[in-house]
Amino acid sequence: MATERAKRDWNEVEFLRWEEFRQMAPAIIQLEISRLGEMIECFPTDTDFRNALVKARFELKKFSECLAGCGKESLEEACAGHLRNAIFSLSFDFSWLDEEVAGTLKYILERLMNVHNRIPLIY
């Protein structure tokens, strides 16, 4: 589906070389892991919200590890699932949250989606 969407809405400036992706994605993912870590630290342990962040961070770490060891061909099959799981973990209604926290979460999601949507555009 992602590939179809990519084909439909493709923009040549968004296509990127595998080497570029390998350089770009870990940096973004690591930053978002750090950001999630800070958020986790600020929430009490008795909230499901905190555990959702934990889950997202865990999946991002898995994705990051997987990315380090995989090739272009096996990326979608072996690694992208972890990134999707992380995105799903953060895909809850956070309108009830503090505006700043909600804004940060939205930003993290956008960044992760951006990485995810580039996967079909790797050449």
Binding site: Q30, I33, S34, C42, D46, N51, V54, R57, Y107
Partner: protein
Amino acid sequence: MYQKIYVPVDNSEHSLRGIELAVELGKRFGAQLVGCHAYAARMHDIRFKQMEFTLPAEYQVEEELEKQRSIHDTLITMGLELISDSYLEVMKQQCALAKVSFQPRMIDGKNFKVLVNDINNNDYDLVIMGALGLGAVKDSVLGSVTERVVRRTRTDMLIIKNTSPVEEQLNGKTGAEVKNVHGNGGNIVVAVDGSPESFAGLKSAIALGRELGKEVEAISVYDPYLHYTMFNSIANVLTEKASKVFKFKEQEQLHEEVIDTGLAKIYQSHLEVARQLAQEEGINMKITLLDGKAFEKILQYVRRERPWLLVMGRIGVHSDAEMDVGSNTENLLRLVPCNVLLSSRRFTPPIDLRAEESMTWTEEASALLNSAPEGVRGVARTAIHRYAMERGHSVISRKIIEQAMAPILPRSAMLAMGIIAEEAAIRKISEHHGETYICKECGYAARDVLPVACPVCGSETAKFGKIDKQTIQNLGQLEGGMVEEVAFDDRRLLWTSDAKQALRGVPSGYQRRRAKAQIEKTARVRKLPSITKDLVLEVAGEVMEATEKLEERGRLSQTETAPDEAIRREGEFSWTSDAWARLQRVPEGFMREGTKKRMENCARRRGVTLVTLEIAEEGIKEGLKAMEEMIARQAQEGKGREPENR
């Protein structure tokens, strides 16, 4: 140490000093010297033919032209050999005098190419070459042949920049004309950055120092300022909104913490390793840690200390192996006013070598290391190895990593980098009355029931750590009784009671921790012996301004209310500005009056005379509740009257 020393010669002043030094080293190390002169006969031949048309008219005759060509050929083929012979003869005689084995070489071809070829295809262990050749002019800093050879070879190179007689360089000038502060011709300074090349350079320096009677010292430079520049640059292009989303200030603080404390410790540890290596050789070596741009600081140091020789790795710790010359080395090679030894050999200090060979990493530990940014993994791996080796470990576990990184990275940075997973929830646990189990792998928190497996990472029960409130409270009491506080980077700082009290004016949680870190950092930068209330107010004043009159639970601190202009007095009650503003949003008239009375009643029940926003909200809630009850009652009454209305 040196068995075969190669000396390219060209009869320049620098080349002649190079010969002198090579002979001296050959004598002391028992090394064979190879002198080489490269000449470009073919180039001369081509040039002559190209310029034949400029010959005077009398030579432009067939017969004469042929004669001149023949003469030039002879000159080229024989003359250049004779010139080479003459150049090498100087070296030969000096070697003979010093009883040093000598081998002359003459090679026809493009000078740098044949030299590079000769060096790379032979087993020379040192090349001594002048920084400048015969073509040098006043502003020349490094000759092109030397530069090209440096870039294309991987043999240690000693570049001659000092043209004083070698006797003077090695033993110093006598009398009033002492050229350097040491009076002995200068020491040997080794720039250490943790790379195997720099450690090999240190070994060479120690060997040279021993043979030449020179003191050896090591310096290391770390650059904590680069990120300031980077952040300022980014700050200039980010919009205010983007800065907020990016949490720019917090990112900057995180980097400051990591770089200020971490880098200094890492580079200091390189110096300590260097000192240890020197001690093993029986040398008590001076070490100096500098901060700033590496080449600039080393240059300043060299200009001030005026050493005889600066030793550097050909490439630095951050270079790829394919790199020809590191940027710092290249800059310094051009700029320093002393001889330079570029080390291409590699030497890994034994502790690291042993660690690389004998240490086993658990899967978890490897994964944790891999989660660190790629650029710092090598540095982190070395630091962890050294830590583990010193303590006799043979297996690197997650715990070892935590312990090894603790003195290097501040806890906040470790948390942010995911090094401490289980710590993430501990700080908040005191609010929870039951038991909480934290997964040590990923930080997942389970309340009251110990999970069979972690629902996030799948770790088994044993990986969960139980944390209960009592433990935390005990810890809290212990910490609360101390006047000496541990700063964000594990240093201990003294807080006055007033300062601690003032800090409580910052809202608890993240804001307070951050304010504390800022205050501690300011105190350290200013080298203050203790943290006072004034400092707290200065650094965290803005955050406190809005809340300084309120205690943690939102109640007014009665002793501090009177002089505040933000307080409004109305009858027997005082109102905070935000509480008053909230009241003003209620429709004017009986509703506002009624709400005001409810708010005052709430304050009365609490036994305070100040109406805060919290109390105001409580009053409004009561009003709404009363209104709902009234509407419900009216609806009920309406139902009862319905048949009559119809």
